[in-house]
Symmetry: D2
Subunit: 498 residues, 4 copies
């Protein structure tokens, strides 16, 4: 296959060069790019026609073929041939085979540099829409669980030790809130980087009367080209900003999965989930292992690795396109696919998670120590620190078991830290240890009071919907741009006649 840049060359790239440039990962990526390549190429060539850069007759031949390829790409697909080269080289070869030397007009006023940067950005947007949709679905599930279990007691944990009374709904809500932060950031970051790179040429513009405003509109980019060199150099850097979000998100999920692995241990048993998200052992018949949760927990590794890869690939390369930046394409695809797949399976799994209310209630006792301190402060007007000290001493004297503390012991311990004598009653103690209405004592939003948990979850779910709507409108406009372009091209073909 003759190379499209062959004039100055005395020989072709070595076979190993071709194989190294379009390696397995690149080939897969080029394959994924095909629909975006065709969209961008149609937009560019239609613009060339409208701007009268390419002779009308030739333009029509090209556009007609591109419309054909678009349909074919959806239906039967194409296979990138790495020995020909990248997605553009493959289609330039195909077009040349199909229409002969007129295909020579097809890459006018464009470089593979702005072409691939544009195609990659379109693919990135598609991934963002997909990931957002999965985030939205997962958030919905978390919100449902949060409301449903707002009154189910659960020990709040810090340092993997029982800390304070909490609820199962509050636990779900915490992850909901963290995911909505990611959603908000997603919307914001995507808005900032949604720029049209087409028209950048090799990095320094092209010597033709092109109109990037048109291609921007036809590819549904929010923002125009402002500096061709920046447009090219942004490749990978914009992806880094998204990868920063992915890394945060996956870190949050790794923690949720640790919770699931840990608190579904039979010894702890706060909750369980459907065994269809576990696998067993080839040797130990009793095993029901939380493999999905474990694998998700590990997946931050893949995504962080991709961020590191992207950053390292670009580090210290001079301005303008360099081959190094091709690595940012494969790294982003790997990361985005991982995030997307992970969100899907996590949603499926957590939807099956059910509480073991008895186990959680049973585990709650140690969590009442702070309530005891607070009650002492409130009842006997002793400063907090001294009350804390006294309860600590009482626990030490009772095998660290709050239920073994007697009124006498507590009074004695208070006596050790406070000047005034205090008469502790059994009623006082039993009221502290009473679990009824435990959470409704919390008096403000942000606490696990079920009333507020439900109220806030409702608000968060509305926010989830609003963010989803914003993205939906954006995505719809984007899809619309493509349909409009195809329509316009068809009209042009008709209008201009044979």
């Amino acid at each position: 296959m003759k190379k499209i840049y062959g004039g100055i060359y005395s020989k072709k790239p070595s076979v190993s060069t071709d194989a190294f440039i379009v390696d397995e990962a690149q080939k897969k990526a080029e394959q994924l790019l095909i629909p975006y390549y065709l969209w961008e190429t149609l937009a560019h060539n239609y613009m060339l026609a409208v701007q009268k850069i390419v002779p009308k007759k030739v333009a029509k031949k090209i556009l007609s073929k591109l419309l054909e390829y678009l349909v074919q790409a959806d239906e039967t697909g194409f296979n990138i041939d790495p020995s020909i080269g990248d997605v553009h080289e493959n289609f330039e070869a195909k077009l040349t085979a199909d229409i002969g030397s007129d295909a020579g007009w097809f890459h006018t006023a464009r470089s593979r540099n702005d072409q691939i940067t544009t195609d990659q950005k379109l693919l990135v947007k598609q991934f963002c829409f997909d990931i957002f949709t999965k985030l939205y679905t997962l958030s919905g599930t978390l919100g449902y669980k949060s409301k449903r279990y707002a009154s189910v007691l659960m020990p709040g944990i810090t340092h993997t030790r029982v800390a304070m009374p909490s609820s199962f709904g509050f636990w779900w809500q915490s992850y909901l809130d963290e995911l909505l932060t990611v959603e908000e950031l997603f919307v914001s970051v995507l808005a900032v980087i949604d720029k049209n790179p087409l028209g950048a040429g090799a990095s320094y513009g092209v010597n033709w009367p092109i109109d990037p405003a048109k291609t921007q509109q036809w590819m549904g980019f929010d923002k125009p080209l402002v500096n061709g060199l920046a447009a090219i150099d942004d490749r990978g850097i914009h992806e880094l900003y998204l990868l920063g979000l992915f890394v945060g998100l996956m870190t949050v999920l790794s923690r949720m999965m640790e919770d699931i692995v840990l608190f579904s241990m039979p010894e702890i048993g706060y909750f369980s989930f459907d065994e269809s998200f576990t696998t067993g052992s080839s040797i130990m018949p009793q095993k029901i292992n939380p493999d999905i949760a474990e694998k998700v927990r590990a997946k931050i590794g893949t995504v962080l690795g991709c961020l590191v890869n992207t950053c390292v690939s670009l580090k210290g390369t001079p301005h303008g396109m360099n081959r190094d930046s091709a690595e940012t394409k494969t790294a982003f695809i790997d990361a985005a696919k991982t995030v997307s797949d992970t969100l899907g399976i996590v949603e499926e799994m957590v939807a099956t998670l059910v509480p073991n209310e008895i186990a959680m209630k049973h585990a709650l006792a140690p969590a009442l120590a702070t309530k005891l301190v607070d009650s002492i402060v409130q009842t006997y007007n002793i400063p907090f620190r001294q009350a804390h000290e006294a309860v600590g001493k009482a626990l030490k004297a009772s095998d660290k078991d709050i239920q073994k503390i007697t009124p006498q012991l507590l009074a004695e311990c208070i006596g050790q830290v406070w000047v005034h004598h205090v008469a502790v009653t059994a009623e006082f103690l039993s009221k502290v240890l009473d679990l009824d209405g435990l959470l409704s004592g919390f008096s403000y939003i942000g606490s696990p009071n079920p009333k507020y948990v439900v109220y806030i979850t409702k608000k968060l779910l509305i926010k989830n919907k609003k963010l989803a709507h914003t993205m939906y409108v954006k995505q719809k406009g984007w899809n619309q741009a493509k349909l409009q372009l195809i329509n316009d091209v068809k009209m042009y073909m008709k209008k201009e006649g044979a």
Copy 2:
């Protein structure tokens, strides 16, 4: 020193435990946190007073001391003593020394978990404001240079090889555009994460009628507490989102520095900068080394390392506060200080960068090959690919020197790729090689046409100002919140009488 949690303990932490927990990096961090700790502590204790959680008399004692500490912290400073513990333990010890057992009320309805998370977030905001200011200044300098040198020819580079005609102003503008993207993201991300964590308590709220809306206002947070557990678990995750931006920014700077190291080589000499940003050699008297540019180029290493550290520290830890998250504080400080220092020295250095117009013009010839192709297409109506092939062949036959191409040779090469004969004139060739008005041929925004470069830079500088104004208003409101709080506390002290 007795520990504030000593009641249940039979013995104190080992000396090595104290030293490991508050190690050198943590000590430095706690030191930096002092003013934010005092701000947050004043807000919390004033809220306790207003909510009547702490007896009025005690509250006034505490508030009066906190106001004193604030003044002292500004003037003479405090020194964190690691053997006492973290910033809170140090100040609780100090307050106890100053006012005795009433200090026991001071930590009521608060945990060190929400306290440190809040303090860290305030410090993070301060870093963001500092870094933004430096970004703004650097962008201003880049914009100035971009306008000034919009007409100075410069070879555009791709693959570290001369590619296309460009201008020095266009090169500056590309970095300006990339930095403005960072600024925009900064504003967006900061808006999303600007939440009040105070009131989260240990992670599950507190059993007191506190009012987080008040402390939110007094500390100038945009958004309220919505879930205490999320507020605590966000620690480090929110920092990750900012670190993602830092990593992008520093990668961009690493590339700018590579440009500076490379294109100021005497052999290339496109530009030079003041020798006060270089150092010499202890052995080689001729040496003037671009050390600053090199060290900045390397600094993405530090910042990426901090992002990795933050992510790894949190990965797979269960919900609720864990000690692991303390690492996110030191990692963020290290990264943010690096970014801030780097932006400062980069601005100083690039301000001195001056072009070598002759060298750049001289280097431009190879960049004209594409213009030759385009001119052939435009003049002789030959398809682009064939014209490209012909020029490639002509270059191959001319030692790859465009200036050696003769009309005959070119005609001959065209003949090899195109059916129709074409008569190439010497005028045609000399017009292509003419550098006058080279850039003004580019006809659209995004290209290096000086007219558009100046126009766009002006717009970008307006955007820079607008973003800076947004941040300025935000920062002013933040500072105002603190002053208002101090005033309100003083009023309260007066109003409530002795």
Copy 3:
């Protein structure tokens, strides 16, 4: 302060340049380098004297001062002044102040490039010796525990679920074995990279009749200089190889700490450790948090961050010294200090770890399922997979509680998977569930049979000693080289007379 490279310069570096080059981290590093700098400088200058490169009289003046500085450095210390510059610039300034223009001979035939590379390598070696010593001590403790608890039953865990019978000694032994791998690698890697860089000059040698073999001997390097450029370019790369080991080691420790956090939970309670390695809560009096274990668990973040930093700093820099490589010094120090401190506190903490034999025995039941399968295979000659299936079915029918399986049920389940009828007896089942002699049934080395655990641990402890001896001999030779050098210099001073 005049710069040592000032001749060609019209002005001095800006204040900000000095501050950026010798920033806080670099200053701390230069401070640590002082003793190694003086050692290397003494070796170099003595070599200059012996090779008659520097006039004897001058050489003696310089050597006499260097001996003085060495003593002072040990006793009162020096303070690096960043405004003067790095460690060399500080000492050249000092020597000039002390002996005047003769100090001008002191840097003959040397560059700061080979000097700092050599000094850094000496410091790296010191860190390696320190870290190895701590590894050795920790391994000793693990070995002691392994032998002591070889017969204490413990449930073996996979997927955080009870898997198979094991012993507490076997658990300790696994970490011992993993650490010994690190020790072995340490010895091997250190042997490979122990090369003398002095004589490399700026990277390309010096025009003087120096003798690197002498300085190699006097600084105790195993291997000679072979290529000056490689010697300089190895800076940071050799550190990367060590950082690879650190990363492995710290990952292992992060897992050990997870075990400690998890299996010391009161709900699980397999073991406990001294409360002097925990901290409490400022708000919750019942809290005894495993802070040390958590912080150690997080510390792989720091070390991995340092490896990333080192790699990124060097990535894509051209051959020969560049300022970028200075970052490798601070990154290595940060990582090595972290590893060293971590190993120290881990050893202290695990030394206090004691088993809760009852809890572990009690938790063992589910671990017997595989034994039940194996016994069925052995007793009834049923293939393993079918027996596994039968036991699985029996567990499903018994609330997943092996102790609820009856002979009838088991026989029935076997009947579902196997053609021949089998009569299961109560004796058969009770023998399977018997914990006595459970581990002694394992018949080979590598299994938790206490006999083999003790046997292997003894062998591992011998290996630990042998490796330590190798390192001891190496370190002793290294220290000896320094003493010998000082002695030789003193002899030279005496012999050569006044």
Copy 4:
């Protein structure tokens, strides 16, 4: 497909679980593992036969099929079906289809945990042998070039600025030396981690009289199983140690590639390489871009990303097998394949690299400044620092052009820094600037004196051969072990009769 662990289960894993567990990357990895799986499985089952754990008749059926599969795997291949599961589940299904219920014996006394750990280790070894072979070949090429060009002058570079005289051979040698360090480390690290994991079972051994010493021998592992839990937990950790080497190696290559991109710029033109390792531009006909060098330069990103991934996946997981560790398999394969492919193409490319002797000689002048300093010291007995200062001043007064320095100017500059008058002659200066015999003045090994470069390169090439021999012997023994095993099994089949 029924799962091999299905007894206890009420339902099968969800389709999404199967797809997530054996995702695309895992499927590819399992595919690669097939020959190693079969080797290990044959060894295990032969051991079961020899130890009489499995009835002879059954054993023979199984062994006969395994021998068949081995041949088939080489010839026609198998395709892993992810809906069945991993490599073992696929082959257990196949064997069951082939021989019926006797296949139930086939996994006796083994777990998928020790099985996959063993298979992965065998694959890792194969990659190590492949990579070593490529390192060896590349080192050979570097050595050849180093000797050939030992006398070809080349400016030595530091800080991307001309520093000192050097040779093209010296430059090649520096990379040769750095690669040999990697080779040595490779041999050392591989020796340490070459342990047999089979017999570890799920992590805690198996209740059968197995003999791991036998399988160790039959799979060619250097070292025996010593602790089953460590054997399992080493998975990924051992890979980390190798990845540390890969990261160092790829960082070195990224620097070599930067040299190649930079110093083959037409503006600099120190050397060039064959255009079959470049690609052109779709738009700019003059372009010959060093794409291979650029892509290799970026590839440290992939490898560092894999190291980060591996470390993060394992971080903080509890002892014993967890699903998280499966990620270490795919990450290692990705990294190792990248390293292997990279070394191959680098060798091909650098083999074509040829010097431009004239350009390098021409660029050498600035590199003579240090020689001038040294000559002043040697001729006029002026201290080095003062001579350095004087030459610096002379350069400043001569447009930084050493060739413009006159005897008068130099004398004058010396006069400014030294008390005694010095008469500089034109002969003195012209001798300094003479390039003849420039390098032969260097008097020691490690300097660019061609004599020593050739001498040392010869020694390094011998070392290269010796290391390769060590690896060859190791690899041969390993292959031998497999052949021997197959032979022994065939003998067993025959001997035991039908």
